[in-house]
């Protein structure tokens, strides 16, 4: 029965080795996608290359469909998976701030590591900024953290909110992905002229 961690107790060394292995897959995929380049990542905001949305959306739908299939087959228990508790105000506000940091800094935390691995000095600067940011947050604004914690609203998901089963949502997302894929190819052709010259 999955997840394995719910039924097997493994040592710290094994735990960290598993993290290392899964992380390797994570980083490999990010770099393959071109996310080791801030220019490729931020292109999504100028619409000449929508790879960020294509990759993320496909990954989300793939994992979502896989979780649904495995749980339908009785192989995986969705209830045993950890979900960050919902806090709509904090997630909305945090998302706005994060988005500003993304377009300004050119990376997100995970992709900055992939970009550092391939020699991008700006990714190193981003990661140092991230480190300074989380340290400052902890030192100067523990009140903000307490505010986020106090306002959690349980684990709110679309199926629990609407009463419509996960399978319907997976199907809807697959259909939406197909249409979005077509729309993004139109956008890319329309804004191709914005692609800056190589430096």
């Amino acid at each position: 029965m999955l997840p394995l961690a719910a039924s097997i107790e493994w040592s710290v060394v094994v735990d960290l080795a598993i993290a290392l292995g899964l992380g390797a897959g994570f980083g490999f995929a990010l770099e393959r996608a071109g996310f080791g380049s801030a220019r490729k990542l931020t292109a999504v905001f100028y619409l000449w290359d929508m790879a960020v949305v294509k990759v993320m959306f496909t990954a989300i739908v793939t994992a979502m469909a896989g979780l649904f299939l495995l749980s339908s087959l009785g192989v995986l228990s969705l209830g045993d998976l950890f979900l960050e508790p919902t806090n709509l105000a904090a997630q909305g506000l945090g998302g706005l701030v994060f988005g500003a940091g993304f377009v300004l800094g050119g990376y997100c935390p995970g992709t900055s590591i992939a970009a550092m691995a391939t020699g991008r000095k700006d990714a190193m600067a981003f990661a140092l900024g991230m480190l300074a940011g989380v340290w400052t947050f902890a030192q100067l604004t523990p009140g903000l953290d307490a505010w986020v914690e106090a306002g959690t609203q349980g684990e709110l998901t679309l199926p629990t909110l609407t009463g419509i089963g996960m399978g319907w949502w997976v199907s809807a997302f697959v259909v939406f992905l197909v249409f979005a894929g077509w729309g993004m190819s139109v956008l890319e052709r329309r804004f191709a002229r914005l692609r800056p010259p190589a430096i």
């Binding site: 496909t58 500003a100 995970g110 600067a125 900024g129 947050f137 679309l158």
Partner: protein, 189 residues
């Protein structure tokens, strides 16, 4: 004109003489997305939770604080979550990112994309870009701490569980980024 599919690497070298050393093209985004989805699914199936990145930075911040004063790290409400009884570096997410570094290194070597460079648009200097990257990281950190996760922990991981808060997070990220794209266009275009 059928020139849409093959995308050049970010720093495609000019001149045909070193054609063999030019970066290989990136993979098809839908194919990589499928692969990334499988990695995420495997992470759920083994560990019972998804991918993340921000917690690794929080763990290193707690560790650095502990170098100055272990009491300070253990008594601060935020650092304490990552203090791990004095072993903050034994963090699952930190090792996930060590792995990500190695995986990206392997991919970059195979794809001939290793290059010590600064990613920027043609209208800013390297120095300006490095300062903006640092500032962006600082701002993104606050966002990720508020939202309890970043593109990995909230968007990918929460999104695949159809978490309403994660979907709100994603909408907010793109709203802010598209809203700021025009003012900061000189950095990228």
């Amino acid at each position: 004109m059928a020139q849409t599919l093959a995308e050049p690497g970010p720093v495609a070298a000019s001149g045909a003489s070193d054609l063999g050393r030019q970066p290989r093209p990136y993979w098809n985004p839908y194919a990589v997305g499928f692969l990334l989805g499988l990695v995420l699914l495997a992470t759920y199936a083994v560990k019972g939770r998804g991918l993340g990145a921000t917690a690794a930075f929080s763990a290193v911040a707690a560790w650095l604080t502990g170098l100055i004063s272990p009491e300070l790290a253990a008594s601060n409400a935020v650092h304490a979550k990552y203090w791990n009884d004095g072993a903050p570096l034994q963090s699952w997410t930190l090792f996930l990112l060590f792995g990500a570094f190695l995986g990206a290194l392997a991919s970059g070597l195979q794809g001939r994309r290793m290059k010590l460079t600064v990613e920027r648009g043609p209208r800013v200097t390297d120095r300006q870009r490095l300062a903006l990257a640092f500032a962006g990281g600082l701002v993104a950190a606050f966002g990720a701490k508020l939202a309890r996760g970043c593109t990995s922990g909230q968007a990918l991981t929460g999104g695949s569980m159809l978490s309403v808060g994660s979907l709100v997070f994603m909408l907010a990220v793109f709203t802010a980024a598209y809203g700021l794209a025009y003012p900061v266009r000189k950095e990228w275009l």
